[in-house]
Symmetry: C4
Subunit: 284 residues, 4 copies
Amino acid sequence: MDKLQDWRQRLYIIIFFTNTPAGQRFDRYLLLTILASLVVVMLDSVDTAHQDYGDLFMALEWGFTSVFAIEYALRIYISPKPREYIFSFYGLIDLLAVLPAFLALLFADAQYLLIIRVIRMLRIFRVLKLTPYLSQANFLLVALRGSKQKIVVFLLSVSTLVIVYGTLMYVIEGPQNGFTSIPKSIYWAVVTLTTVGFGDIVPNTALGQALATLVMITGYSIIAVPTGIFTAELANAMRNDGHHMEHPCPNCAKAEHDNAAAYCNRCGHALFPHRAQEPDGGAS
Amino acid sequence: MDKLQDWRQRLYIIIFFTNTPAGQRFDRYLLLTILASLVVVMLDSVDTAHQDYGDLFMALEWGFTSVFAIEYALRIYISPKPREYIFSFYGLIDLLAVLPAFLALLFADAQYLLIIRVIRMLRIFRVLKLTPYLSQANFLLVALRGSKQKIVVFLLSVSTLVIVYGTLMYVIEGPQNGFTSIPKSIYWAVVTLTTVGFGDIVPNTALGQALATLVMITGYSIIAVPTGIFTAELANAMRNDGHHMEHPCPNCAKAEHDNAAAYCNRCGHALFPHRAQEPDGGAS
Amino acid sequence: MDKLQDWRQRLYIIIFFTNTPAGQRFDRYLLLTILASLVVVMLDSVDTAHQDYGDLFMALEWGFTSVFAIEYALRIYISPKPREYIFSFYGLIDLLAVLPAFLALLFADAQYLLIIRVIRMLRIFRVLKLTPYLSQANFLLVALRGSKQKIVVFLLSVSTLVIVYGTLMYVIEGPQNGFTSIPKSIYWAVVTLTTVGFGDIVPNTALGQALATLVMITGYSIIAVPTGIFTAELANAMRNDGHHMEHPCPNCAKAEHDNAAAYCNRCGHALFPHRAQEPDGGAS
Amino acid sequence: MDKLQDWRQRLYIIIFFTNTPAGQRFDRYLLLTILASLVVVMLDSVDTAHQDYGDLFMALEWGFTSVFAIEYALRIYISPKPREYIFSFYGLIDLLAVLPAFLALLFADAQYLLIIRVIRMLRIFRVLKLTPYLSQANFLLVALRGSKQKIVVFLLSVSTLVIVYGTLMYVIEGPQNGFTSIPKSIYWAVVTLTTVGFGDIVPNTALGQALATLVMITGYSIIAVPTGIFTAELANAMRNDGHHMEHPCPNCAKAEHDNAAAYCNRCGHALFPHRAQEPDGGAS
């Protein structure tokens, strides 16, 4: 019994952590399996490949599903808090990785299951969980979170712009030039403002082209806004690493001071022993 | 009479401010109404939807107009300075929200009224007026205002570039390749310089493609300019945010100090006159 | 005679400078004339407008030419150093503004003269010469000059990339898919890398689309490079305004110190009188 | 014998270094030869030019090959460590510059040799090796290396996004609208997210256009991420350039000082042991 417990414990560390050689090997195989299942999903959607290797692909899909199902069962079995695992974000993703093949048996039109099969990919991020990349990702997330409100304001302004521009184009160009409705004109405004420019709908009247020019210049200029926001936040996050020193004031014990501080700015006491010449050169 | 006054006062706070629960509820309903009226405008422009539900949309439009009219009347009635409100920016927007339905009765071709009906959307910004987002929006506005002159210089240079490039392309490619006039060639230059690239007009001659290459590289490089301007200004605005106070040290004149500083951290002198206990309370 | 000299002097100030009301009025009229001549050039290139108003446009062109010719003659006459003016940058631009109409008399095919007529536009920058915008433009120029070498390295790398990518696409896709020659494939690579994406030439094979994906991701990522270069240079230029304080050391007279310096870092002497508590709290 | 040795030494300096006038002349001629061979490769791929001047181009190609072969042989001969040179990066590039013409004799289908002939271009970077540009390029490389991990996280997120968006579009639009397979839909997602927008495949359903709007807004916003990363790193690299030295003060341990500092500007202590005259030379 104790042996089984021990074995469970070891398996737990291998499967849930990546700081042991065995755990890293497990993660590497899992990563390959996920990528392989992704490749199969993609190739299966290519018509010629589907006709030639459709059966092989289905067999492989069942193979991957079995592997993921066994892994999912194992994770529940060895987890110290199974319920917590099942309802965690990654627990649900793991469940989603197993479902599609079974659901395909029930429903004839398996088209929409494709999306679930692709969402398996999110499991890749679990594998990356304990690598040095995580700290860098956190860095980016901190900067994104810090700029969240500014980005909401920006997106709201952009929405207003595309709705107003889209309506103006609908009125100016009209259905005969491809701007068949306001939603479609707004779609055009987004295509243009974001500088994507598919070219499926284009202005044909002189006035429409003049307005389009304005939309494009707007889009070209305001891309500076999200870039500026994010850059400023990221530079901020990176600067806040060592802007202050940790040197408690000998008088009042205030812990944090500016890097260049000579005196404590709370009690005025010198932070460091000063030069001997002081007595005759200083005093208020 | 005093009761009526009191009731007007309460209504005034609900409608014009958002720091009470009732005021927030009012704003939430208003926001929903504005968005709903916007959706109706958009759907009404879709041909199939207009044919099937045209009457319903018109009824809804009259409904929204009534709500906005009542709200407008109320705002005038309860406002302490009605005249000021009417001619304020939001007062005019509120009036514009009511007009289209009535104007549509007078004019057969209501096409251009669409724009006014969409401008209602600007009322959304009023609802956001007293939220934390406003300070963030102000932040962006400060950075934009700070970079205004630089952006004018940039836009002027871009205008010069697209006019020169457009004329060159008109001369090189000519009407037979779609560059039918200088204004149209300038439109192409804007499409290309802003990296939108619709593809409705494209260079066909070798020389034209060489020049187009130059235009694209230019556009790809100078997008750095507005981005750089805005980022530098925003970083500046965020640094000056209020982490520091401007209070020169009476001894050494150091200008910037932490908001919580009591003593200058350069020379140790008290920043402000201190209480009488000072003489015996200074050193450790 | 002295009166004439006086009159020439006054005209000189009006025409060459903008810090007098008369000079500003002169510049404003000049600006309008330049813009009007530009509009005429553009409208004349529109086929329908040319057929209806061709004669009017030619008359206007002669009118503008006369105005510019008189102005040019005046500038030479009143300039204290005529030779210097004639061969200066703006002197040549002023001459170019006068030439096209006369050259059109000599040459039947006036098509290429259009470019000269548009180059008149550069005269607008002379009008802006003494406004507050100039200092902002200088700011941008300083940042551009500071990043010149980095931008050359960047452009060289981009050139290498588009040549290699273009050749690869030519080999992969070949003439049957529109990639008819290496220069044309390089043109496609520029269109794609700069995210313009006209869509006149697109990859059709799976391998070509895979490579195109790589080109697009490259272009999407490396736009960060010119932006980063310019932003860093501009932030640098803007920061170098007041990073140091000017407070001569009382001992060795060193003039510049860090803003937070308490002691001179050349001779170790205190820069400011220090607190009285020093004697019993400090000393090495 | 000694004379030959001397001659080899001089040739070695001319060919491998650029700090002598002869070496610079050699590099300039080499640069011209490389560019000329590149132009010949490009022109030869243009159908009309190939038909008219095909023989000339082949003769020139053999000429360039001879020059490069002689240069390659010389480099091996004069290099003090020939083996090291042959297997160095530039040694292999030099070999590749010679091979294509010989390989073309062996293989009829010389199409793929084009790529090798273009790779000759990389030799240009050798010529630039010892110019001031190198330090600037190194600057950019340092910034790129510093942001490598963040960029990997970014590219991984973008890959996930385009795969999920691509699959969704495949399910929504389907083969009848041009989204014939998941890989092709992912190609579309990359085209759209990177704001290239060829327009060869475009969404036609309302739902597809709504999702495309989301993809475009995403692409327009997240371009801020690589830009922000690179800008922050570059600004960092430029700030750490060498304005400060890392030499902790022996008294207060302040780490960073001006390059010319003799005393700590926080506590006034000497940073380095001073000459004997110190005791009587300290105070004013």
